[in-house]
């Protein structure tokens, strides 16, 4: 469900861009998806393929996904660590005072169009 909503938000942004730049056809869309963004990429691709068939501008488009690595920072020992491997607790000092530096993004990086 969530993935389809995101596809629709992406499509809306591209529609606006197409209108501004008078684009008739989108060849590809490149998205950068964070490792802990909560987006299930397999579902996302399925939703994209379902949605684009009903959307003339996107019907021939290819979806390209790039992963953004998730990194967490520890405020106590000032070190970075891999979020997916260690979670919220710092593996170096055991602190809970940590926050995500990167990894929850969903960014439309670029599109190819004509």
């Amino acid at each position: 469900m969530h993935e389809l909503s995101i596809v629709m938000h992406v499509a809306k942004t591209i529609d606006e861009l197409a209108e501004e730049n008078q684009l008739a056809k989108i060849g590809s869309v490149t998205l950068q998806v964070g490792e802990v963004s909560g987006i299930v990429t397999d579902y996302f691709v399925d939703c994209w393929n379902y949605f684009k068939r009903k959307h003339p501008l996107l019907v021939d488009s290819e979806l390209k996904l790039e992963t953004i690595h998730a990194v967490t920072f520890c405020e106590d020992c000032k070190q970075d660590y891999e979020t997916v491997r260690f979670g919220r607790i710092c593996p170096y000092c055991g602190s809970e005072h940590t926050y995500l530096l990167t990894g929850n993004e969903c960014i439309i990086k670029e599109i190819e169009a004509e």
């Binding site: 389809l4 909503s5 938000h9 606006e16 861009l17 993004e105 969903c106 599109i111």
Partner: protein, 224 residues
């Protein structure tokens, strides 16, 4: 084919719509409260109680968002408050565009306070700005004291938290101090209201807060 670089967050166009809706509502002096919670936390029961208690002091309307069915809107309308049912057709959250359409359909003339009863879900409603002036989440006591650990973003984006169904405390192992400490760790400034819509316990503090916020929003709008 040419390449156009965007580097735009997916939520950016929604954030823009939300900002526009928020300033429009400020100008009108209507406070929109985005009410978020898990399914079954008692959102509609809480709203029914609020409408009964303070519906004479401020004019309240409710935007009911559900994936399908209209049972919630019918419950609210039975109390005499204005309400509209929005069906999201499978979408798991309300965004600013859907909220704006719903509000326009319902009409805001003569209304002071609108509750958007968001889809029962603790994940994506937290990620999408609806254009609300105030975000309130409900966590019911039976859901457990570990909810802040599992759904941190929802606790971080809300300005107030209603802990509902406190009349059931004797049936559950719910550690109130632990719960509050976990919430405060995520959000030090959040207002916490433990209530029971059934017995009325704690409702007055929550309702005073809502009246205060409605008044402050109107004042802010008249100076804007």
């Amino acid at each position: 084919m040419r390449t156009i670089e965007l580097h735009k967050s997916v939520t950016e166009s929604n954030d823009r719509d939300a900002e526009r809706l928020r300033s429009e509502l400020l100008e009108k002096g209507v406070l929109l409260v985005n009410l978020m919670s898990a399914a079954g936390s008692g959102k509609t029961t809480l709203l029914s109680r609020i409408i009964g208690d303070i519906g004479q002091k401020v004019r309240i309307a409710v935007l009911e968002a559900d994936i399908e069915a209209s049972v919630d809107a019918e419950r609210i309308e039975a109390l005499g408050a204005r309400s509209i049912q929005v069906h999201t057709d499978g979408m798991c959250h309300m965004d600013a565009g859907m909220t704006e359409t719903g509000l326009r359909e319902m009409g805001l003339d003569g209304i002071d306070l609108v509750f958007l009863e968001n889809i029962g879900n603790l994940i994506c409603p937290a990620e999408y700005d609806t254009g609300a002036g105030l975000n309130i989440m409900i966590s019911s006591l039976p859901e457990g004291d570990d909810k802040p650990l599992k759904y941190p973003l929802m606790f971080q984006t809300s300005q107030a938290l209603v802990l509902s169904k406190i009349d059931t405390a004797s049936y559950f192992h719910f550690d109130m101090d632990k719960f509050i400490a976990r919430v405060r760790f995520l959000n030090p400034t959040i207002h916490i209201f433990p209530v029971s819509a059934k017995t009325g316990e704690g409702m007055e503090a929550l309702e005073d807060y809502l009246l205060e916020q409605t008044k402050a929003w109107k004042e802010k709008g008249s100076h804007a």
